[in-house]
Symmetry: C2
Subunit: 475 residues, 2 copies
């Protein structure tokens, strides 16, 4: 059954996206432009992401803290690159309790400066290192054009901020957290990704190097889905974060920060969704199984449905039941638009035969399953199969939409005809990135670890290539 | 061993309090006045409270959402009592992305107006009711005088907002959530409390009735620790929240809201703490057991300590080990100031004898325990005993500091000599509350369910008493 209310992906992908956001009840608009409401179904996805990641953070020695929401402008101004990057998009509080503030504050667009100030105060000795802090919160960046989950004036995220005694330790931390982000995408969200380092132009304001996770949406555009920054000692010098090392000399700390946000919800929608709505990866799905009783007023149907629910629920499966007075067709459609991985239909005939019918959301396959004590195991197996199928399908799409080119003409052609990531040799200069962006709207997503062929030239300027870079149109 | 850095409670209770906040590393000050940093140890307590309560909220059918951080001033102004209550303490954002805002926004001091606007949009029919939403977030209220956890310009909290088809359902919800708050205080925090309804003067801005949980600190002052509000249809009318009922007529919804905040950390500190620092109730303690090896460089001491840690950790006990090169005395003192419920000492002689020594933080009692497979069960039992002892001790204090009076002279005398709650007959008029506050600084904390004796008079004006009210000096 088609959900007529959703625009088809092929007709207008952007419209399809916002239709799904609204119809699946992930979010709603508020009366402040660019600020969205995370509705229960959307917020539950974020909670599942939080639970998964928070556990990984704690297993790797991190603790959560909470820093103030407001940053005095004078504090934000301490690191030059950083303030240049963020000041233009800040929300500024100028009045507090009816009085004008002497030092106006911005609502945190990110919290580096607050962590730096705190670390400068509490880190004295090598014994105090490393400090491995993380914070779950929302941040505000005043955006002109906004889109649910992808670009908003307020979004939810985690921001990790760590300081270390040595460069090696800090670099190791940067990569460790990148690895946790990769695992979250692959193992929780069934989303394959490419990773690499950002160019000078694209790196974080104040970072020495930025590692990124880039995922590919079904319209061929890339989405930056997580970043991990190595700061070196830039902030340490600006904020005087020093410690007394074992050799009895004062040294500056080495620093990292890393974050993912509710953008991941956008990635889930656009990597897996189809014309009928959301397709939820099972491990992060708020509801993994929905039971829909057929002719529920007949003998034993509802009773049987509740028994199934009880059985699955006890096995740790997130299951609900739609026993409303809506028609089965309407119920199917609702389960579909919300992307619930498995729906179980059970009617009078099924009960007679001692079976139920499971329908997989990702490919609509129907499976008849015996109603006995093995049901939870079979459903759990099915959820794993769905996860793997969704991951593989997305990986295939990513592979098919990654093209290696050697000339600018080929670059432009593939970008328009195939889309996705175009791997191209690049000289290393920002000028060429800017020209490519102006000509094609594509930006460099990350520097790959591939080496240019001997004698290969930058597609833009023709000078010797230093890197192979993944370019793409992006969100 | 005394911790010399902490002011004694008897010398200066307020100074003792901030000493404990800082020395136990619960929080630190930031460069924005009134905005504190929740350090790992303090934030971990809040996380444990969140986990406990969030589970209870979900078990009772609530789901989490996230509303925007900013509220347009025009939206806040919609409910008259509400805006009068909150506007004077709002932080106002007047600039966003370098531009002046046409409709300035306040950072949420509480989110009733946002929930109302959303509910007005999504609730159409009796089928859509009830809506049982909760949100974990921080709110900003610009305060002139601030104190860590007790009164801050920003604090962390949860705010539940529900709408219902009938008055009865909404009242039931108000009391259900009050009951969850009571259980949280008693079963998680080992804090006894009194509950009741607020007077007109003290109720929430916009509420029809406010139920409160009041706890008693060791200096004899009360702390409002949680509130649950029944709104009736006040906001519903201001925000046009209507639904089509079963009888095919449009009706206004009935509404509740309820919240607890990081104030609970203040309650933990001031109900249980002593001259040596924090005394953590075991069930909410981030670290329940700390193992301190004695002469740890000697044969097998560290090894044995780690075996104990492993054993306790496997049994679900939150345990750590201090194997730093500090002296045992210093380690004891650190465990003490942080209020870790049990410290386990293990040295060469203990190992020879196949035992370890557990020391209870709440009464310093030492218990020698055999090192065998029963250790985790014994420690778990000990943690429960500590919880009960702490609760009973606090209940005794509460009982000893609750006095029933009949005259104003007696009231003033008991308030100064005994402190705590003074139960007094009251006529029901705000004028008398105001006069009592002016005369004594005590405020009405809640109306009890006790009836005045026949012919009993208001302590203030001498007119006939309508209620017995608990008065107290308070935070």
């Amino acid at each position: 059954m088609k959900n007529d209310a959703i625009t088809r992906q092929g007709d207008d992908f952007a419209k399809w996206y916002t239709d799904v956001c609204l119809k699946a009840e992930l979010m709603d608009y508020s009366s402040v432009k660019g600020f969205i409401i995370y509705r229960p179904y959307g917020y539950a996805i974020w909670e599942n992401i939080q639970n998964y990641m928070d556990k990984k953070f704690k297993e790797t020695g991190h603790t959560n803290v909470y820093m103030p929401m407001l940053i005095p402008e004078s504090l934000l101004n301490k690191e030059k690159d950083h303030v240049e990057g963020f000041a233009p998009e800040c929300a500024v509080v100028t009045k507090g309790g009816l009085n004008e503030l002497e030092d106006p504050c911005v609502i945190r667009p990110t919290s580096e400066t607050l962590f730096c100030e705190h670390y400068a105060k509490i880190v004295k000795s090598y014994r105090d290192l490393p400090k491995l802090y993380n914070q779950w919160c929302s941040v505000v960046r005043w955006e002109k054009t906004t889109r649910p989950f992808l670009r908003g004036s307020e979004f939810l995220w985690q921001e990790g901020h760590t300081v270390h005694a040595t460069r090696d330790e800090a670099v190791e931390e940067t990569l460790r957290m990148l690895d946790i982000y990769k695992k979250t995408c692959a193992n929780l969200l069934a989303i394959p990704m490419v990773t690499g380092i950002k160019t000078e132009k694209e790196k974080f304001a104040g970072a020495e190097s930025t590692y990124t996770i880039e995922t590919l949406m079904k319209d061929g555009k890339a989405l930056q889905s997580g970043t991990s920054h190595y700061f070196g000692q830039g902030f340490a010098k600006a904020f005087d974060m020093k410690f007394l090392d074992k050799d009895n000399t004062q040294k500056y700390v080495y620093q990292t920060s890393w974050g993912v946000s509710t953008r991941l919800l956008g990635a889930i929608i656009m990597v897996h969704g189809d014309d009928n709505g959301l397709v939820m990866p099972p491990r992060v799905a708020p509801i993994q199984v929905r039971i829909i009783p057929i002719r529920q007023n007949e003998n034993k149907v509802l009773e049987s449905a509740y028994e199934i629910k009880e059985m699955l629920s006890k096995a740790g499966i997130r299951v609900d039941i739609d026993d409303s007075d809506k028609s089965p067709g309407y119920k199917f459609s609702e389960a579909e638009v919300r992307g619930i991985p498995v729906r179980i239909e059970v009617g009078p005939k099924d009960i007679e035969n001692g079976v139920c019918v499971a329908v997989k959301r990702n490919d609509n396959q129907k499976i008849t399953i015996k109603l006995d004590k093995n049901l939870p195991e079979i459903i759990n197996g099915l959820l794993n199969i769905i996860h793997n199928e969704m991951y593989e399908k997305a990986q295939e799409y990513l592979d098919e939409h990654t093209t290696r080119v050697t000339t600018y003409d080929e670059f432009k052609d593939k970008l328009e005809t195939v889309g996705g990531f175009i791997e191209a040799p690049w000289c290393g200069r920002t000028d060429c990135e800017l020209k490519i962006k102006e000509d094609t709207t594509a930006t460099s997503r990350c520097i790959t670890d591939k080496e240019p062929e001997h004698g290969e030239k930058c597609i833009c300027c023709g000078e010797e290539a230093r890197h192979i870079v993944k370019f793409a149109k992006s969100y």
